[in-house]
Symmetry: C2
Subunit: 193 residues, 2 copies
């Protein structure tokens, strides 16, 4: 008989103290992306993957949840920063559709453009707006695999009424990826690719 | 301060007893897909989404894990059948890369073709082979959203050395989706689409 096991993805224990230095409400996109990039950088220092994500209430700028890459620590390839932020928000709020749970909807800030998995996942969570820091090619330049995404994914999001802002604080965001690669960070991903 | 919450995705309590009627080692693809379809059908009966997945050791046919759609029950849009099977296997085996953990690799049987999220996720888990029942268009015909996938995703998988078999027991698999739509099953997905 196989083991029937719950899937559990944790945020790292340092996140609580880390967030105490940041506001609960963000004035503008730059402040929120600043936190996403800072989470990515701290996660590298704590031996995690170089990605961070921040979910805000679009209308108020209030923080809903955060995510960092937890693939290695959680033994789970689903645990990308964006999905950690989304899953954590959904389970805290008690539903899978953030567009129904948060009046005015949510904005997801990601320190890098979503990989193929996260690109597919973001619409399912009812996210209304996505703001990305580093480009796909910045991640690839650092040796990280982004997967096979439709070239027109931003237009496909628009058809679902998900607004996308790219290249926001890109230089700062891409620097986290470049530093990670330079420092010899683990390039996780299945052995066979 | 936001709540720092673990993400938890459970398999339904009925799965253990359900699996006791099935073998632990599967003779061929038809037997394994039969289980994936049976899980999808039982999940509908138990008021879940109409999808099931089965993960086997490719060389031995031994069952590694199963998944059913748990989006509604888990309050989590990540909880598609394929991702539940993969996450459960990874955390049971203690690593994110199934290609490194299971000699000869794993085969994932899914009662329907992967949506955009699952299409992106499967390569990250180190799956070596994917067998799909219902087509993407069977799911769409039942009113279910599959997201925006690259048209050439099967070729992209081949480049990563992931073999794909489509339309395997498609008629039986598609019937679960059609029955679900006819019975007025919840068409979950964000309200805004």
């Amino acid at each position: 008989m196989i083991e029937i096991r719950d899937i559990r993805i944790t945020l790292p224990p340092w996140v609580g103290a880390f967030l105490s230095d940041w506001p609960e409400t963000f004035e503008d996109d730059a402040a929120a992306m600043g936190l996403a990039i800072a989470l990515a950088r701290e996660n590298v220092r704590q031996v995690g993957g170089p990605f961070g994500a921040v979910l805000l209430e679009t209308s108020s700028g209030r923080l809903v949840s955060v995510g960092v890459n937890r693939v290695l620590a959680s033994h789970c390839s689903l645990a990308h920063a964006e999905l950690v932020a989304l899953g954590s928000a959904q389970q805290t709020l008690g539903g899978y559709d953030l567009s129904a749970l948060v009046p005015g909807g949510c904005t997801l800030f990601s320190s890098a453009e979503p990989c193929a998995m996260c690109m597919g996942a973001i619409p399912w969570a009812g996210v209304g707006r996505l703001v990305c820091g580093a480009r796909d090619e910045d991640a690839r330049a650092a040796g990280l695999d982004e997967g096979h995404k439709p070239a027109d994914w931003v237009r496909a999001y628009a058809r679902r009424r998900i607004a996308v802002t790219r290249d926001f604080l890109r230089t700062q965001a891409a620097a986290v990826l470049a530093d990670y690669a330079e420092s010899g960070g683990v390039i996780y991903g299945p052995r066979s690719h």
